[in-house]
Symmetry: C2
Subunit: 495 residues, 2 copies
Amino acid sequence: MAQDSAITPRDQDYSAWYLDVIQHGDLLDDAPVRGCKVLKPHGYGIWELIQADLDRRFRDTGHRNAYFPLFIPVSFLSREAEHVEGFAKECAIVTHHRLRSVTDDNGKVSVEPDPESALEEQLVVRPTSETVIWHMYGRWIDSWRDLPILINQWANVVRWEMRTRPFLRTAEFLWQEGHTAHATRDEAIDEARLMLQVYRDFAHEILAVPVVTGVKSARERFAGAVETFTIEALMQNGWALQSGTSHFLGQNFAKAFDVTFQNKNGERELVWATSWGVSTRLIGAVIMTHSDDDGLVLPPRVAPIQVVIIPVGKAKDLEAVRQAVDALRAELRQAGIRVHVDDRDNLRPGAKYFEWERKGVPLRLELGPRDLAKGQAFAKTRINREKFGLPLQGAAMEVQRVLDKIQDELLARAIAMRDARTYDIDSVETFRARLEEGGFLRVAWGGDDADEGRIAEETKATIRCFPLDEPAPQGLACPLTGKPAWTWALFARAY
Amino acid sequence: MAQDSAITPRDQDYSAWYLDVIQHGDLLDDAPVRGCKVLKPHGYGIWELIQADLDRRFRDTGHRNAYFPLFIPVSFLSREAEHVEGFAKECAIVTHHRLRSVTDDNGKVSVEPDPESALEEQLVVRPTSETVIWHMYGRWIDSWRDLPILINQWANVVRWEMRTRPFLRTAEFLWQEGHTAHATRDEAIDEARLMLQVYRDFAHEILAVPVVTGVKSARERFAGAVETFTIEALMQNGWALQSGTSHFLGQNFAKAFDVTFQNKNGERELVWATSWGVSTRLIGAVIMTHSDDDGLVLPPRVAPIQVVIIPVGKAKDLEAVRQAVDALRAELRQAGIRVHVDDRDNLRPGAKYFEWERKGVPLRLELGPRDLAKGQAFAKTRINREKFGLPLQGAAMEVQRVLDKIQDELLARAIAMRDARTYDIDSVETFRARLEEGGFLRVAWGGDDADEGRIAEETKATIRCFPLDEPAPQGLACPLTGKPAWTWALFARAY
């Protein structure tokens, strides 16, 4: 369908810009159910590339995929006290298993749940799967020989959020959730940290989204976790986006579901757990890290179409062009490059350029009789609008080089942006001033839960994380509370 | 966990055998929700291989993946009269979006749906997605330029079946559903037949499950379809298994959701539709086509582990063996072969052999000092129990050759079984006798819906399909009804 309206510039209204980029990029549409979205092929294609790469990384670290049920008995949710607290308020509940037809006074027929089909035990559509998975682990784990269990699941989950935003927060979303079971505390903590590192490397290498790795404060911890590790990215507007979390769950779920194992000494012990997940929210991170006022910008490694070839020129010359286009497509495809030829004859080249720019395709190649005569295609990059002749001889290698260069530049650009907007805070005044502009605010933190809550209420800034592997501040006073600082903390406004 | 009990022989109790094979093969476990199952890694791994291959075939025929919402407003279901008839009686209905805690007289706390969170419009968990997808297509289709739409979705669906059987019929299951929109009737019919052919080729080439392609009788048609095409396989017990369907939906869903397009002459027309799907049921087809009284047999192309290497021999020799095992694993992996090394030191080789046989691994390689001295591994195939020395020099190529041979033999064996049990029927007596033994019963059919229903009631046999591309019988009387035959029909007992 035609999308002729303009994209709102970022500095005018960042939220409107975000929605415009998604619409013009043809990524997603509203579903007929509140808070649910349809992932259109171009948007789902990004997710498929995310899946393929992460899945390989999960396998390389010894994990296997499985599938657990969508439905969880409501009683399961209440087994872990904090967990139910965290999820009971926003979940979809299945209560009946049959519809019946009813006719109203005007003879109009509609359907409604058949009261006779009410379920004995009502079911929650999974908001996350710790409970049902630990129920199953209780059946599967008996001895130290059964450990560790290293399982991942790709699935849809539902959280009945009232305020939704495409990719960032929707009632249903797609994600992966890893759930592991271990014989020792140390092994579980190592696993949680390993998967955090996997997420960090993936974000940098594939999404070109630089992230800070850290630990969540108690206030921001996952419901049921002992420790939550996180990767936090900084969007162009200076807001942070929590992009993935990895939880050390201690023995909380083992206790709740009575999961013990016999150790090598013949004694029974509770099992140690982790869980970790990333979701389609990562697509939001990609959009808000790289895109510009002309629409979507996709890093080549997550671009469903990396190169679009557009034949140009007068009709009489087209046969030779078509042959050259076919040969070029075949060569690029052979080299594993995701290429699309736009040979629609009902659109002018200008309209095509416009469309593919808005869809974020990293590299455009135009091929007409004049280019062909020079033995090259006319190339234009989505970022920087670089134009150059791309030799048809050895095109695949050159295209791959250009794509790699774009990927590198996007990461470098994003790191520079992030670093330029990471501020050391020495007073409440600079905290407030910097917060206004947006960015990561680095604070020698001395506060507690209550201080954090008060700051969040007053400023809308939250502690995104305590960055990992930084020595604690020595002898500093916290600029926000006046108390002795015990850790470094990154504050930011966050999605 | 230990699974020491024996597998029930097929000729004793085929249903018990099927459940035993699944349990000993470690494919699946019961979930805590009625009719739902957990796909364990070894079972889910088969599905992942099915997905990867089919997905490639879908792309090669021009389709792209997308994702539509899990929830469908109940009112949508009733838009297409036959469709609601087909699905309303067995669906999961979401009525609330919040749980609340309640304390009973004994002070026990539990959770229940909060009455204040009742939904204005109740939601059905998708049993199939025609309705919500055609609602979206109505937003996306305006002109002939928007057609065709060729979309596939990988998803979970829920049908509240009362009688469930692992893989074959469960309340929740995984599947793919293609949904296409076309400008003309012919194009839609061609699409439905093309996807049937894709399924047929996939079943033969990858699952080694030979299928008959055909058309469903009106009685067995998908709820809302004009014509349902099907692939039907014959299990070892002589029962048929519907393994995939492809529907020509005519303009039924376009009418129900008011989806029209402007043709090249500027007139508005209703859009033509197809949908097509296969599910985790295919895993059931694989099990019941190939497995034997010793457990699971997997065709190499859908075996999550194609080759297991087991180091054997005395401790003092193990370092050299370990190096040889590592080198062999690396070589096989490099060649794209799915290999697993079982180097657990708490199990004897015999126990390992037993376990991997039951898990259906096509080829076992044992490697000990004596084998190493001969420059070979000791090989044993899961089918036929063939034993031979496999030279370590050029092992990958030889292993691939063996795997291909096994794959071919499994298909040939299954075709021979199917053909031997496909019977031409000339009388009611032979029909009943053959049905007792099981098989495809080929009938020159002259009946109608009522005749078919009567036969199903009397004999439990149904028309699996009218085979495609067979000329209609000429001048024959139907042996079951005495009426003039108008088509060939395959009858069978079916899952």
